[in-house]
Every structure is written in C-alpha cells, then in structure tokens.
C-alpha cells in the first residue's frame, strides 16, 4: 500500500484564494431573514464547503473576454460560496449549538451517540479534532446547517477570519460525507405492505 504523505489533519496556507476546508474564526456577516429583518450573523468558527475546483476556477477572472457588450466570458463563474458553521463540540453535545442562531435547542447526545459522532459514524455530523497549534477546539459540523454568501462579500471578510485548513484527504472525506448527507433519500415509512 502506498503510504499517504498527509501528516497532519490541518495546515495553514497563504490565503491567495479561498480553499475548500478553510476554517474561519469570528466570521460576522449580514443576512436577511424573516422577510424584512436584517440580521447580524456571528459564527465563532465556520468551514468552507464549496468544491475546491469550483473555488479555483470560479474565482479566477478570465482574462480574454470575447465581446464585452455581451458580458464578460467566464464559463466557471462562481457567484456564491458555501460554508457551514463549525460548532464547539460541547455545545453540540448538549444540544444547544443552534440556540443563538435560531432559538432552538435539541436533545442532548447520549454517550453512545456521542461516541459515534466523534468517530464520524453519524451521517449528520462531522467531528473535527482539536489542534492546539492552530487554536482549533473540538468542533462539530451539523450538515443541516449551512449558508452561502455572495462571492465578493465573502472574500471581503475572508482574510481577517482565516485560521487554518482541513488537510487533503480529510477535507475530501468531509466533502464526501456532506454531499452524501444532502443526497440521502427519505423513504416513506410503510407500515403495511401494499401493491
């Protein structure tokens, strides 16, 4: 078996562009919800979930537009960036991680459930281990909770918030689990066989 060259769960890059798996700290942005209310949303930690190839090609301005009158040519244009809050694990374990954002609480996770979550065996959550050097606490991503922001707005916030990045393989693992969760199929609960 070829030995992986990935030595760490996290790394820190030069921030020349947003990367999938980037962990942001103290991300604060404005959003509209409940029709006319303008909100400040604050996330102590967040993680970029947009595909890395989309970020690579979508954020690069194409330099040779053909006909400006019909708009700039940009076949891979990416208008929005997808990210998810990463909640401190203790709050998620207590079921209070959504309280400040949505005024809802959830059941506390029992020890068996929490064990599976920490092993990343619960499809709804992704557990990120703490890393002292990068000031990352134990974090939990709840795949039901995510946001998008317009690219330019997100980029204006990004550099001040960048903390570290989930390393390759681990970020692909995260990405795959997120997409699998969104793709899950809810089957009807058929009590009795019919037809």
């Amino acid at each position: 078996m070829l030995k992986s060259k990935i030595q760490n769960r996290y790394e820190r890059h030069d921030c020349k562009r947003v990367c999938q798996g980037d962990i942001l700290r103290d991300l604060k942005f404005k959003a509209v919800k409940e029709e006319e209310h303008l909100f400040d949303i604050f996330l102590p930690y967040a993680i970029v979930l947009s595909q890395d190839c989309d970020l690579h090609y979508g954020l690069t301005i194409q330099t040779n537009p053909t006909d400006q009158s019909d708009g700039q040519l940009h076949n891979q244009f990416l208008p929005n960036i997808l990210f998810s809050p990463a909640f401190p694990a203790e709050l998620a374990k207590d079921g209070t991680h959504l309280y400040g954002l949505f005024n809802v609480v959830q059941d506390k996770k029992d020890s068996q459930t929490w064990k599976l979550i920490k092993q990343n065996h619960n499809e709804r959550y992704y557990f990120l281990q703490a890393h002292t050097d990068y000031q990352i606490p134990d974090l939990l991503i709840d795949f039901k909770t995510y946001y998008t922001l317009p690219k330019d707005y997100f980029l204006s916030l990004y550099n001040a918030c960048y903390l570290a990045t989930v390393n390759e393989l681990f970020r692909e693992h995260l990405s795959q689990r997120f997409s699998n969760y969104l793709n899950r199929i809810g089957l009807p609960d058929l009590k009795t066989p019919s037809g």
Binding site: R25, G100, L101, D138
Partner: protein, 64 residues
C-alpha cells in the same frame, strides 16, 4: 463555573494572535479530549457564541 461559562471559554478574542498556539492556564472544559488539547490562556478568551441578531429592517417592496 457553570456549563455556559465553560463553553464560552472555547472562543478566543478576535484580537488574539492566531499565529501563536493557545497556551497558559489549563481549565476543565468538558470532554477529555478537549481538556487534553486545549490550554486556554486566562483572560484572552471572551464570551462568544454563534448568534443572529436583528440590526435593522429591509424596505418592503410594494407588491402593487
């Protein structure tokens, strides 16, 4: 120290230096792994939790 206070200590100040590892006085903040990994510098962590706060209103479009 109540649970909320413990949880608050996960969050560091926006002015804290992200290039330096967290260090200092170790406090109990829940799970064993967290205790092992996180050494929280006393006083440098402020009370921060995710929130959504109304800060204004968007003008409604006239439906007529």
């Amino acid at each position: 120290m109540d649970k909320n206070q413990q949880n608050d200590e996960y969050f560091s100040s926006p002015t804290s230096d992200k290039s330096k590892p967290v260090s200092g006085k170790k406090k109990s903040i829940g799970t064993k792994s967290t205790e092992e990994y996180l050494e929280i510098k006393s006083g440098s962590y402020t009370e921060k939790k995710a929130y959504a706060k109304v800060i204004g209103y968007v003008e409604k479009q006239d439906s007529k």
